[in-house]
């Protein structure tokens, strides 16, 4: 399937670009434009971004702060809307969905990992991992328990399952967050600077873990980072600068 789209170049001119979507495509973005209002100023965040991600890829989005990495991930994660362009996730035109359908899509197809872990402090590790499964009607209570146990085992946190997040180190918390993202068996995991709050050693461990899960579970990973030490470890890099994909 060929999708004709346009892209805005560095000179703010529209370029014709052809994004080819195949059966292996999990994400197809076409000409995404997004800007934010900062007081009286309109700040462009994405300027005609087109991108295709294939199933099973392990991709890093790199770029300086404010380059549009997080905005790009937000678009793919269906938690923000572009002013123009199209987003297709697993063959579904996301922008045609209502809020409930997008929530369902996020719940069943996308896993999120955040920079600051975002674990619920009053829930145990196991309960945090179980959270997205509670609202998934296709998962029975017994299957829920199995999936939580499996996800925690995959990230090496089984022994902490009854602990509260406050009792864990930063690296351990991020592992739990990864387990939560994986518990729903998503096709795509999005991680917004997952190592930004971790030291170097833990950062490498988290990337190793994500690589391992990518290989074993065949889950597509897309994460943003500006940590250059991690860049050599990914199969694909998307370089974004001033809201435009450079390479």
């Amino acid at each position: 399937m060929a999708l004709p789209v346009t892209r805005i170049n560095e000179n703010n001119e529209k370029d014709a670009l052809l994004v080819t979507a195949t059966a292996d495509s999990i994400v197809v973005l076409s000409s995404l434009v997004k800007s934010y209002r900062l007081g009286q100023t309109i700040v462009p965040a994405l300027r005609g971004v087109s991108l295709e991600l294939n199933r099973g890829e392990f991709t890093a989005v790199i770029g300086a702060s404010g380059s549009g990495k997080s905005t790009l991930l937000n678009m793919i994660g269906c938690i923000d809307e572009p002013e123009s362009g199209s987003i297709v996730i697993d063959g579904v035109d996301v922008l045609s969905l209502d809020d409930n359908a997008r929530s369902r899509l996020r719940n069943q197809k996308i896993g999120f990992i955040f920079q600051s872990f975002n674990l619920v402090p009053v829930l145990t590790v196991a309960e945090n991992v179980e959270l997205p499964l509670l609202i998934n009607p296709t998962v029975s209570p017994s299957e829920r328990k199995d999936r939580v146990a499996q996800a925690l085992e995959d990230v090496g946190c089984s022994k902490f399952m009854r602990n509260l997040p406050d009792q864990l180190s930063g690296g351990q918390r991020q592992r739990v967050a990864i387990a939560r993202a994986l518990a729903g068996n998503p096709d795509l995991v999005l991680a917004d600077e997952p190592t930004a709050n971790l030291d170097s050693e833990n950062s490498h461990r988290i990337i190793d873990l994500m690589l391992d899960l990518n290989a074993r579970r065949k889950v597509t990973f897309l994460f943003s980072t500006h940590d250059e030490k991690l860049m050599g470890r990914v199969s694909r890099m998307v370089h974004i600068q001033d809201g435009v994909i450079k390479s």
């Binding site: 937000n74 938690i79 409930n100 955040f114 975002n118």
Partner: protein, 453 residues
């Protein structure tokens, strides 16, 4: 709904204990306050109702000759019920299933004398057996207990219905120095005229229970007769306490030279069905061609004292309840807003995990419902204790034109508890929902940055 989400909502309460305690206290105290004020209203409302319907012998329905309510006192012959009216009314009420008991009453003015001094009176004549049914009615005994029995002496219904017994209000008895009622048949002493200037005149007047009554008959002729004071009672109203007189209707009819009555009262089995009984009564009197007016007991024209006090009380209660509602709404919405601001990132995280707006609202409502439930239980216990203490303390309640002796009392029924708890709960949930509605609609990416406020 998933139990785990309830568990999470309940556990979230531990995240800001002080704030939740403050919110819960506002809810609990609001609940206790509502219970107290509505308990007070309930007590006063029932007391007023019992006093009007039973204590005042008004009945649930009252039938006057057409325009008799306004005109009877000045022109009783024209605006009183005659024997034809009374017979027809007895026939009508005899076939109404809603009627518990009924009967005519006669009222009117006159002069009562102790031989030395004459004072105006206003008499009520009622069949003593009917009076017994009215005064001993369980509703009257429950809510009007202080006015159901005589201060001294014997009740009229303890004597034959045509006996010359009379009960005086305490003020009138005091003025006439007839404060020692005697049983009929007891020796009343010498019947010689009393020398009103003699030093022992007061003692002799007190020892003699007989009084002389004088009035005009319905035909305008001077009439008179003797009666024996057999009881002393007090009224709720200071104005009537120096003039009220009760006697068997047969005696008052003799005084006024009539077989008629001022009005015909009907007491119902089920007071909640006054409207339907009123409609039925109106329909039947019309069908019988009677030229009468039928009133419900709570008609402002018939019972202005009841409607006035009840209306004032309702205004007062509504005002206080409104203040409580505002406090509850502000407390909950303020607390919910602060919690939402603090947890916007978490809300964003949950939205990104797939929680819909509805789920986010439900989660916050679970938290508020938990706070409200605990607060209502605590407030209920506190309120019950407070009401018990206030009832026992017996704080005096001084109302204009109402005789002293009343105390502040509160009577809380299960319906009041349920209504108050339900109202507070709905207000709390509504306030929280109002606060969480906006945040649930906020863009998820904005929530995740924590900059939605």
């Amino acid at each position: 709904m998933n139990f785990q989400l309830f568990k999470m909502g309940a556990r979230n309460l531990s995240r800001n204990v002080r704030r939740n305690i403050a919110t819960g206290s506002a809810l609990g105290l609001g609940f206790a306050g509502l219970l107290a004020i509505l308990g007070f209203q309930n007590q006063v409302e029932h007391s007023l109702r019992a006093y009007t319907v039973y204590g005042n012998r008004t009945g649930h329905l009252v039938v006057y000759k057409h325009d008799g309510l306004d005109m009877f006192e000045t022109r009783p012959f024209e605006f009183g019920l005659d024997t034809h009216d009374l017979s027809a009314l007895r026939r009508i009420t005899a076939t109404m299933n809603s009627v518990e008991f009924e009967g005519e009453q006669l009222i009117g003015p006159g002069l009562v004398s102790n031989g030395c001094q004459s004072l105006p009176f206003y008499a009520m004549g009622i069949d003593p057996q009917l009076d017994w049914k009215v005064q001993q009615h369980p509703y009257n005994l429950k809510w009007n207990a202080g006015l159901t029995s005589l201060d001294k002496g014997r009740e009229l219904w303890e004597y034959p219905s045509d006996s010359p017994a009379i009960s005086l209000s305490s003020g009138l008895a005091g003025f006439l120095k007839k404060e020692n009622p005697r049983d009929l048949g007891e020796d009343t002493g010498s019947s010689d005229p009393i020398d009103c200037q003699a030093p022992d005149a007061s003692m002799k007047l007190a020892a003699d229970p007989v009084v002389q009554l004088a009035s005009y008959s319905w035909n305008g002729l001077m009439t008179g007769g003797d009666a024996q004071v057999t009881g002393i009672f007090h009224t709720a109203n200071a104005y009537y306490d120096s003039s009220a007189v009760r006697m068997p209707i047969s005696q008052l009819r003799k005084l006024y030279g009539t077989d008629g009555a001022a009005y015909y009262s009907v007491w119902l089995n089920d007071p909640s069905k006054v409207d339907s009984a009123l409609a039925e009564m109106k329909s039947r009197v019309k069908a019988n061609g009677l030229n009468v007016d039928v009133y419900a007991w709570n008609d402002a024209a018939l019972s202005p004292q009841y409607t006035g006090m009840s209306g004032f009380l309702m205004t007062l209660v509504t005002f206080i309840a409104s203040i409580i509602a505002v406090v509850v709404v502000l407390s909950v919405s303020n607390s919910a807003s602060m919690t939402i601001i603090e947890r916007s990132k978490e809300i964003g995280m949950m939205r990104s995990l797939g929680f819909t707006r509805r789920w986010i609202r439900i989660l916050f409502l679970i938290e508020v419902a938990c706070v409200a439930a605990v607060s209502l239980v605590s407030g209920g216990v506190f309120g019950s204790g407070l009401i018990w203490l206030l009832n026992r303390a017996g704080f005096p309640l001084d109302l204009p034109m109402v005789l002293s002796g009343l105390t502040v009392k509160m009577s809380v029924s299960p319906a009041i508890v349920m209504n108050c708890a339900g109202s507070i709960f709905v207000l709390a949930i509504g306030s929280a929902l109002f606060s969480v509605w906006r945040v649930a609609k906020t863009n998820v990416a904005t929530l995740l940055t924590g900059s939605n406020h």
